[in-house]
């Protein structure tokens, strides 16, 4: 039996909430027995996704919201879905390229999605122009109690 634990939160799109968002996910996944490196990977990826909402989706508008939905499964699969109702991405494939940024003048590195996909095991970005963007990321916590029972092919 793979027990599933979930939480949802809605945050104002303010940069001071980044630290809160990543700490929440880190605390929530603790029962899966993650290593410190795994926790740090998840915190970094969450921070990248929330930054994207604030800086790109909403362009700094402070009356907007970011939705975060997190699922921790006993088998060790941690899924984080972060979505906004912002401007959307013109070309997702292009946005995923390392160093690609629409805000080079603001000293943006263009490495957000690269870091998310490197630090998590799976990442899926869906976006609709004028509607918003959703980033779904999965991390397999190796030391989870029932990790052996996982049937997923990504575990080996």
């Amino acid at each position: 039996m793979n027990r599933v634990n979930k939480f949802n939160m809605r945050l104002s799109a303010l940069s001071e909430n980044e630290s809160f968002a990543r700490s929440c996910v880190a605390a929530f996944c603790l029962p899966l027995n993650p290593t410190l490196d795994e926790i740090n990977d998840v915190k970094t990826a969450v921070s990248e996704a929330v930054t994207n909402c604030i800086v790109h989706a909403y362009q700094g508008a402070e009356d907007k919201y970011i939705d975060m939905s997190v699922t921790a499964e006993e088998c060790g699969r941690l899924t984080v879905v972060i979505s906004d109702n912002g401007c959307g991405i013109d070309d997702v494939e292009q946005a995923l390229q390392p160093f690609y940024t629409t805000k080079a003048d603001d000293e943006r590195s263009g490495m957000g999605f690269t870091i998310m996909s490197t630090f998590m095991d799976e990442m899926l970005v869906t976006s609709e122009k004028g509607k918003g963007t959703q980033v779904s990321m999965t991390k397999f916590i190796r030391g989870a109690r029932n990790a052996d029972s996982r049937t997923d092919s990504s575990t080996d």
Binding site: S15, S19, L36, N40, T44, S47, T51, R108, S109
Partner: protein, 104 residues
């Protein structure tokens, strides 16, 4: 974020502490750009990350921005005391090719 700038040996050290994310970036840029533009700043600038507990790609942007500015003024930029999480980001983004990691 806290920034502590001082001279030590061949380096002018910029010691950073706190969490380097979007929330901290603007203030950090200002503090660094003011603190490193004064007389007495040496040719080699060492960013001591020992007090930084978290950094994401916004931090990479800040470092790259300082690198460009400092390079224009003929300065070299080095980095030290990076934790495991930060080291992974710096390696993933190839930052070490332009600012060398040193141990002091």
């Amino acid at each position: 974020m806290q920034v502590n700038i001082y001279n030590k040996g061949i380096y002018t050290v910029a010691g950073l502490s706190g969490e380097l994310d979007e929330c901290a970036a603007a203030e950090l840029r200002r503090k660094l750009d003011e603190g490193l533009a004064v007389p007495g700043v040496q040719k080699n600038i060492l960013f001591d990350m020992g007090g930084v507990s978290f950094m994401d790609s916004t931090g990479i942007g800040v470092l790259l921005g300082r690198y460009k500015l400092l390079k224009q003024r003929g300065k070299n930029m080095f980095i030290c005391n990076v934790n495991t999480q930060m080291d992974r980001i710096l390696r993933t983004t190839g930052i070490y090719t332009i600012m060398r990691k040193v141990s002091v």
